[in-house]
């Protein structure tokens, strides 16, 4: 296992290096000199010449790339123009809000998608199955940002039930901590409820697409497993249907579901950029969009790299999870 783990880590390194190369090329493909891009508009010609020397822009391009790579490796992503703070710190402050939103969306997708999928798969062509397949199609075809806007329109605008933007009423937890999770852990139910009121609509908007997919995959997986011999054996032993379904079928049906959840985490990650913009959620996604609007190139580069490296790490973790669940993969 340790050997497999090491092998996989080593195999990931070139991918990360090539990702940084792609981002580096993208910065250089941008119209204009990187020094113009990386300095604010007020910079004078002398400032630009100075910056070119300081950033090594007068050096050959491969030297520039190696410097860029060395900076990433030492977690130095530069300084934001707009906030004049280190980029890495700005992103770190906003990440908890994004992670909390992603967890909430994931919970919605799994807690609703799997039971619906099992139900539909156990009784194919019943009304539950049809309802599920309609919901699945809706989930896949409805863009998260429009669903979010419609939720705001109906739930906040018309009924005035839930707040339409931000993260909390009291102004605490503006991104820099796990607001709901910490409140729950410290037993502060009032602030936890406040946080839940704010997170529920963005989480539905972000989680619905994944829910539709989880449902469809669970359904087809359950349909396949339910005709296996060992399910018949379990039934023949006289186990009641519920035990058969939840203990024998679901456990084996979950492997493809985990695959899909893993694959879709990337969609969730990039979907959160848009949903955060819709709900003015103070996460790293809305930070990226604000950075693009104010042409804050170091912050854009830093956020794009952070998201991508996070995605690589997540995929790596999921591969490891497989190796734990299914021993065949380790030797395959």
């Amino acid at each position: 296992m340790l050997r497999y783990l090491l092998g996989r880590i080593i195999a990931t390194i070139p991918v990360v290096v090539l990702i940084s190369l792609l981002v580096f090329l993208l910065i250089h493909a941008a119209p204009g000199d990187p020094a113009d891009l990386l300095l604010s508009d007020e910079a004078s010609a002398a400032d630009i010449a100075d910056a070119r020397r300081r950033w090594g822009l007068d050096q050959p391009i491969y030297v520039q790339y190696l410097r860029f790579l060395a900076n990433i490796a030492s977690a130095d992503l530069g300084t934001s123009f707009k906030y004049s703070d280190p980029v890495i710190g700005l992103i770190g402050e906003r990440l908890p809000a994004t992670i909390e939103l992603a967890i909430a969306s994931l919970l919605i997708a799994i807690l609703i998608g799997i039971p619906l999928g099992v139900w539909a798969g156990a009784k194919p062509n019943s009304w539950a199955d049809n309802l599920g397949s309609v919901l699945g199609f809706f989930g896949i075809s409805m863009p998260s940002f429009w669903l979010g806007i419609m939720l705001i329109l109906i739930v906040s605008g018309y009924f005035n039930w839930l707040p339409s933007s931000g993260r909390s009423t009291y102004g605490v937890g503006q991104g820099s901590d796990f607001y709901v999770i910490q409140s729950l852990l410290t037993g502060n139910l009032k602030t936890a409820w406040d946080g839940i009121k704010y997170i529920i609509m963005p989480a539905i908007a972000l989680g619905t697409g994944m829910m539709g997919l989880v449902m469809r995959v669970t359904r087809s997986s359950v349909l396949e497993i339910i005709s296996e011999d060992y399910v018949r054996t379990a039934r023949a032993k006289g186990l009641d249907e519920r035990t058969v379904l939840w203990r024998h079928v679901l456990r084996n049906a979950l492997v493809p579901v985990i695959t899909v959840v893993g694959l879709e985490l990337g969609t969730l990650l990039s979907g959160s950029i848009i949903v955060e913009t819709v709900f003015a959620w103070p996460g790293s996604g809305s930070l990226l969009i604000a950075a693009i609007q104010s042409r804050d190139y170091p912050l854009i580069t830093g956020t794009v790299l952070t998201y991508t490296i996070a995605f690589v790490v997540i995929n790596f973790a999921i591969d490891m999870l497989y190796a734990l669940i299914d021993p065949r993969i380790r030797f395959g």
Partner: protein, 306 residues
């Protein structure tokens, strides 16, 4: 005389019914509810988009501030779906938006398809080092979360139609490439490829004439799903202000306006969203129907960006 004429007429009508019966039999597997339903929606979109200059009641960019933010007048009024903050007619903008969505999505799907199938066929046919290099490229591009690479491309290269198409193609060719590579790997050792090779055909000819035609059915299925995701991604980028320049009406940028005026003017956000939703639903239904017919084994590969 009379008799032979009726006989002849009978024979002709018999032939005609036989022909229409054959036609119906040939079409029958295609006429599933999914294909019909999805096809009608897509057809309406194409007609609406193509005929936008003739059926749109107003110029999509004609501003009329005295008529700003008018609610929908429904069927018989001046502005059926209302107007936006600059007094522009929503319905006219929706027609023109359909045009843009359609043109971009079709171009993105075709370019991604050509690039993906070609690289996939080359990768699978030659195997070895070529395959390794192409698959490394696939791995790196695929390592970006969906849409993030597109956002980064738009952020660095700036708004514009070419950049938008590049951004949308940047990851979309990969699905074609992966599926084509797998199929090409198994095709390369088939008899007809051996036969072509022993007749002295060059690699290019084998790939273009013998391998690629066999990759088309799956590519068609991937293409429809990829079109749905391209429409959503284009709308998402426009919504974020990263699409085509602002003077071109798109459903995504209309939705962004809708978000701004959400507390006062619900119609701004409702109609463009419905257009995106029904378009994507129609294409997904069509794709699902086509997959059932053409390639039942091809599993859905991700839902795109939702």
């Amino acid at each position: 005389m009379d008799n032979s004429a009726t006989l002849e007429a009978e024979v002709i009508s018999e032939r005609r019914t036989a022909r229409s019966r054959r036609l119906r039999r040939a079409l029958r597997p295609w006429l599933t509810p999914k294909v019909i339903g999805g096809g009608i929606i897509v057809l309406l979109l194409v007609i609406g988009g193509l005929s936008a200059p003739w059926i749109a009641p107003y110029d999509p960019n004609a501003q009329n501030l005295s008529q700003a933010l008018r609610p929908p007048d429904w069927l018989f009024g001046a502005n059926v779906f209302g107007t936006d903050a600059l007094g522009r007619d929503i319905l006219s903008r929706l027609f023109y938006g359909a045009r843009i969505s359609l043109v971009i999505a079709v171009m993105v799907v075709i370019i991604s398809g050509v690039v993906g199938i070609a690289l996939g066929a080359i990768s699978g046919y030659f195997a070895g080092t070529t395959d390794f290099l192409i698959q490394k490229l696939v791995e790196v591009v695929w390592a970006f979360p969906p849409l993030l690479l597109a956002i980064a491309i738009m952020a660095f290269l700036g708004q514009g139609l070419e950049n938008l198409i590049l951004a949308l193609v940047s990851q979309r060719w990969i699905t074609y490439c992966r599926v084509s590579r797998g199929q090409a790997l198994s095709l390369r050792s088939r008899e007809f490829v051996d036969a072509a090779r022993s007749l002295g055909a060059r690699h290019t000819r084998i790939i273009v004439r013998h391998i690629m035609p066999n990759l088309l059915p799956s590519a068609l299925v991937i293409g429809t799903f990829s079109m749905a995701s391209a429409i959503i991604s284009e709308a998402a980028l426009s919504f974020l202000g990263l699409g085509v320049p602002p003077e071109i009406p798109t459903w995504g940028s209309m939705l962004a306006d809708g978000r701004t005026y959400i507390s006062t003017s619900w119609w701004l956000a409702l109609f463009p969203g419905l257009c995106i939703f029904f378009t994507v639903l129609g294409i997904n239904l069509l794709g699902d129907g086509l997959r059932d017919i053409l390639d039942p084994r091809l599993k859905r590969s991700g839902s795109g960006i939702g």
